[in-house]
């Protein structure tokens, strides 16, 4: 049973720094980020999309296979 979405998104501020650290070496897909931070993929998806919405991440224009890759936004 997956966790309640409210509980997952509440933790976004907590995991931001870990996700950004995981992207320090270059763009990654959601499953790759999830593996890097040791979190479930569905939860990572919510965090990544929340960070994308608020300008902390951007997606690369072309997908790699079935997945898009995300990178830290440059300020």
């Amino acid at each position: 049973m997956s966790r309640d979405v409210r509980e997952i998104v509440r933790e976004e501020p907590l995991v931001r720094s870990r996700i950004l650290a995981a992207l320090a070496a270059g763009p990654r897909t959601v499953p790759e980020i999830a593996a890097a931070i040791g979190a479930p993929e569905n939860e990572t998806m919510l965090w990544v999309m929340g960070m994308r919405k608020y300008g902390l991440l951007t997606d690369l224009p072309e997908p790699e296979g079935d997945y898009y890759r995300f990178q830290a936004a440059t300020k």
Binding site: V5, P31, V48
Partner: protein, 901 residues
């Protein structure tokens, strides 16, 4: 908030009531159409919308069928026109509290205007508040596929394009704090790693961050909702971490100088907090402290193993950094002399420095001393020599415990504590009693004092059995059994049975101002008697607020101070989630040893990772944490957390009910796995994935961000289904699914889309051609119900379905993503709209139209009409047509009323 206004001025109605010709409930496409048409006819219309934006559900759609026109492009002009039409007044964030009928036949409407916590005329819609907000919640306007913030603009095309702050109330932790410290706020900032901002948030209330981080009794933690699960958050220790981590001065500048001078007598928590607050307001403050060190009980009484002197000194330095002058060893007996010396106001905050005596024989013997004197000597570095001595401490409160534990640390061979109360009734905190016993203090509970033994020096404490501490009326009235006595041999006796104030000064409980001398205020224990540090902090803050008003010549009567929204109920918080993962609380970290020999601090600080993990357990009870980040960044100064709900009363000649429909909750069909399987979504969520303002960059699986190759639609989810109590067809699910089918094939050209349907209903102009177009584009359509959905490894979904056109056999197919074409239900809000009359509903709970065939839009109540899907499922063109009918009915009604009036 009123997003438009025009003729909202009062007309026929009296008593401040605003009158309109008509009122429209709801601002979806039916409501907007109704209001705009009535407005175009010259009627003045009030639109009441419960959401923060007009537009209803249509504005959240991707495109409309069968034209594939952009839904936003159609909706937004109507939304703009609705809010700017000179004949329309729009109230968003507003709900109807009740509609009654006046004697003249018109309707009287009570409207609850919910606070937006943003001054909307000032708000520019820049979203800086949203980006700064520390609380993340699911975005209901994006199908909860992504997060939004507690401070937010609902969606990019929202009208008004203004921010609001979601507040469910005051979080229980913050609500419980007597000082008004925003506990939830600093916890949420700590969760984000914003430690300095969190420190500054506490400074908004008090300079005593470090002291409270160690010595507060933490009523916030007692009220923490997480306490109903595995245990409360360590809120106090989070505050301590913030103080310990902070370096340098407070980083806060005093306010613009007012030229006013304030004298504060006493430098305990009330005096220091008042000085801090007054300094922030630009007043020149001088504190007079009788003791050699400032800080009151924090500096002089609380032992260093709980509150080190340097922590208090650091907090005091916050105050002096603001320009506050502190004169120690300066006792003030003549308050009026201070006024004569040029101080514009005086605050008395001297606490309760006088020890209460036992009043028993031989109390004057040597080596019998008050606990306050004893503790003070210890804290100031001049303790008595207790090495090898037997000590008896008398009292059952925290001061007695402090004295007993301090005596142990000074090398006493034995420390006994005697108290009237049974252990379970002792006023000291239970954990303190436990710790004292663990360190070696011997507790003698339910004993009173007969007197002291000895000639010049005390040699024994004489006891008598205490049978009751309080009388039947609950007042302190100890009863003894004089026949049961005992005696404790000792070398030193320390009395800790209470403290009292030096002088009685009567002040108003609210304003803290003296009735006789308006320049004189008092706060803290000197007013209330012995209380907790955080209570005194709250009193000091209140005193500063009142003093400031006094100094500015403003009234002190009936001025709101620290008015908080009601505390959020724990049950309401816990109900927001379908479950809560266990998050183990931090274990108590105090390391106790028997007969400790030093005053080293007992409780270690928390590490950063512990702080982050602990703060992440916060449930965001009030939603908004009151971290004040939005206030800090708003360039327009538009955030107003003091806004409160208001009730308005309006008069109208006619009412149009346009409350739309509600969606079928997809998890009510558990065999489809919605809410359990990440890749089962609803048609509404797919609308968002396809919309220009979508939550992701394209159509992706929620489970892992994969672009789905195979997508299935399950039609009639919650429609035409007696098992969920809805036999009705929802009318537009087929068409929106066909539309999405085409849009997906455009967004993901390689994807296969299969629709599992009961039968496809396309009864509209161009609808059937639209269906054929989808098939021609490659859409697959399989007739037959889906029995169940199971999740395979990797998040794929196995559909078990009936294939009617191929022999009716049962088959299975695997998909990457499943979309449930959910149907609609009536919006039951209509049941409570009217207070005097009953608005009849049909057998399915939609608003009844008794003469639907010949009189569409008319309801069971004369003068009340229904528009759009509130009367039954309708697609957009039908809703607009129906709204036209309702408008015609309403206009005819209003004209008839004019003629017959």
């Amino acid at each position: 908030m009123s997003t438009s206004s025009s003729n909202g001025s009062s007309s026929a109605g009296g008593g401040g009531r605003v009158d309109y010709d008509a009122r429209v409930v709801g601002s979806g496409i039916g409501g907007m159409e109704s209001a705009l048409k009535l407005g175009a006819m010259g009627y003045r219309v009030l639109v009441v919308e419960k959401e923060p934006s007009v537009g209803g559900k249509m504005i959240l759609l991707s495109k409309v069928f069968p034209t594939l026109d952009c839904a936003s492009c159609i909706s937004t002009p109507k939304m703009g026109e609705t809010t700017h039409h000179p004949n329309l007044t729009v109230l968003t964030d507003a709900e109807v509290a009740g509609i009654g009928r006046d004697d003249d036949g018109r309707f009287s409407v009570r409207v609850r205007q919910k606070p937006r916590f943003v001054d909307t005329p000032l708000c520019t819609g820049c979203r800086l508040c949203e980006f700064a907000c520390s609380v993340s919640v699911p975005d209901q306007f994006n199908g909860e596929l992504v997060a939004r913030r507690a401070a937010y603009i609902p969606f990019p095309q929202a009208v008004p394009q203004k921010a609001l702050v979601e507040r469910a109330g005051t979080s229980p932790c913050t609500f419980a704090c007597p000082a008004g410290i925003k506990a939830h706020g600093y916890v949420s900032l700590a969760r984000s790693g914003e430690y300095e901002k969190a420190f500054q948030l506490v400074l908004e209330t008090t300079p005593l961050v470090g002291s409270l981080g160690r010595a507060c009794y933490a009523p916030c933690e007692e009220q923490c909702t997480r306490g109903d699960l595995e245990g409360s958050l360590p809120i106090r220790r989070i505050k301590r971490f913030l103080a310990d981590r902070h370096e340098g001065g407070p980083g806060v500048e005093p306010g613009e100088p007012t030229g006013k001078r304030v004298a504060i007598v006493g430098s305990g928590p009330a005096g220091l907090t008042a000085a801090w607050q007054l300094g922030l307001r630009g007043h020149r403050v001088k504190i007079f402290e009788a003791a050699p060190e400032p800080g009151g009980a924090m500096r002089l009484s609380i032992p260093s193993y709980r509150l080190p002197a340097e922590v208090v000194e650091r907090d005091v330095a916050n105050v002096t950094a603001l320009g506050v002058e502190i004169e120690t060893n300066s006792r003030v007996d003549d308050l009026e002399a201070l006024q004569r010396d040029g101080f514009d106001a005086v605050l008395l905050a001297t606490g309760t420095p006088v020890p209460v005596q036992l009043g028993v024989p031989r109390e004057e013997l040597g080596a019998v001393s008050p606990a306050l004197d004893f503790l003070r000597s210890v804290k100031l570095g001049d303790p008595p020599d207790l090495a090898g001595k037997r000590v008896v401490v008398i009292g059952g409160g925290n001061v007695a415990i402090d004295a007993a534990r301090s005596a142990l640390r000074l090398g006493a061979s034995e420390v006994h504590e005697v108290c009237l109360e049974a252990r379970s009734q002792m006023p000291a905190y239970e954990f303190e009693v436990e710790e004292a016993v663990a360190e070696g203090v011997v507790l003698h509970d339910s004993w009173g004092i007969r007197g002291f033994g000895g000639k010049d020096e005390v040699t024994a404490v004489e006891l008598k059995r205490c049978t009751a501490v309080f009388g039947a009326d609950g007042r302190f009235d100890p009863q003894y059994d004089e026949t049961e006595t005992d005696e404790l041999a000792c070398d030193v006796a320390i009395v800790a049975i209470g403290m009292r104030r030096e002088r009685n000064l009567q002040v108003d409980a609210i304003t803290l101002q003296s009735a006789e001398q308006p320049w004189l205020f008092a706060a803290g224990d000197v007013v209330t008697g012995p209380a907790k540090i955080v209570d005194a902090v709250g009193a000091g803050r209140r005193a500063a607020f009142m003093l400031d008003r006094y100094l500015r010549g403003e009234s002190l009567s009936e001025v709101p101070f620290d008015e908080r929204l009601p505390g959020v109920e724990h049950e309401d918080v816990l109900r927001r989630q379908r479950g809560h993962s266990r998050r183990d609380p931090l274990a108590p970290a105090i390391r106790l040893v028997s007969h400790p020999s030093d005053f080293a601090e007992l409780e270690p600080g928390l590490a950063e990772d512990e702080i982050r993990a602990a703060a992440a357990r916060c449930l965001d009870c009030g939603v908004c944490s009151e971290c004040h980040e939005c206030i800090s960044v708003c360039p327009a100064g538009a955030i107003d957390l003091e806004q409160r709900e208001q009730e308005l009363e309006v008069g109208v000649g006619s009412v149009i009910v346009s409350t739309g429909y509600s969606l079928f909750p997809a998890d009510a069909k558990p065999q489809y796995g919605y809410g359990r399987f990440q890749n089962v979504i609803t048609g509404v969520q797919m609308e968002r994935l396809l919309a220009p303002t979508r939550p992701y960059n394209t159509v992706l699986r929620p489970s892992d961000g994969k672009m789905p190759d195979r997508i299935a639609y399950v039609m009639c989810t919650g429609s035409r289904d007696e098992t969920v109590g809805n036999p009705l067809c929802s009318k537009f699910c087929c068409m929106y699914s066909i539309k999405q089918n085409q849009l997906i094939m455009g967004a993901l050209p390689l994807a296969d889309v299969t629709v599992h349907y009961v039968d496809i209903r396309t009864p509209g102009k161009g609808y059937d051609e639209f269906f054929e177009q989808a098939k021609a584009m490659g859409g697959q359509f399989i007739k037959g119900r889906v029995a169940s959905i199971a999740e395979a490894e990797g998040g794929n979904l196995i559909l078990r379905y009936e294939d009617v056109d191929n022999g009716g056999h049962i088959a299975e197919a695997e998909y990457d993503l499943v979309v449930l074409a959910v149907g609609v239900r009536p919006n039951l809000d209509t049941k409570t709209l009217f207070s005097d009359e009953e608005l009849a509903l049909d057998e399915f709970d939609y608003v009844d139209e008794p003469e639907e065939d010949i009189n569409p839009g008319a309801t069971s109540i004369p003068g009340v009409f229904v528009a759009g899907a509130a009367a039954g499922a309708k697609d957009i063109p039908e809703s607009i047509l129906h709204a036209g009918a309702a408008v015609a009915q309403a206009a005819a009604w209003l004209e008839r009323e004019k003629v017959t009036a």
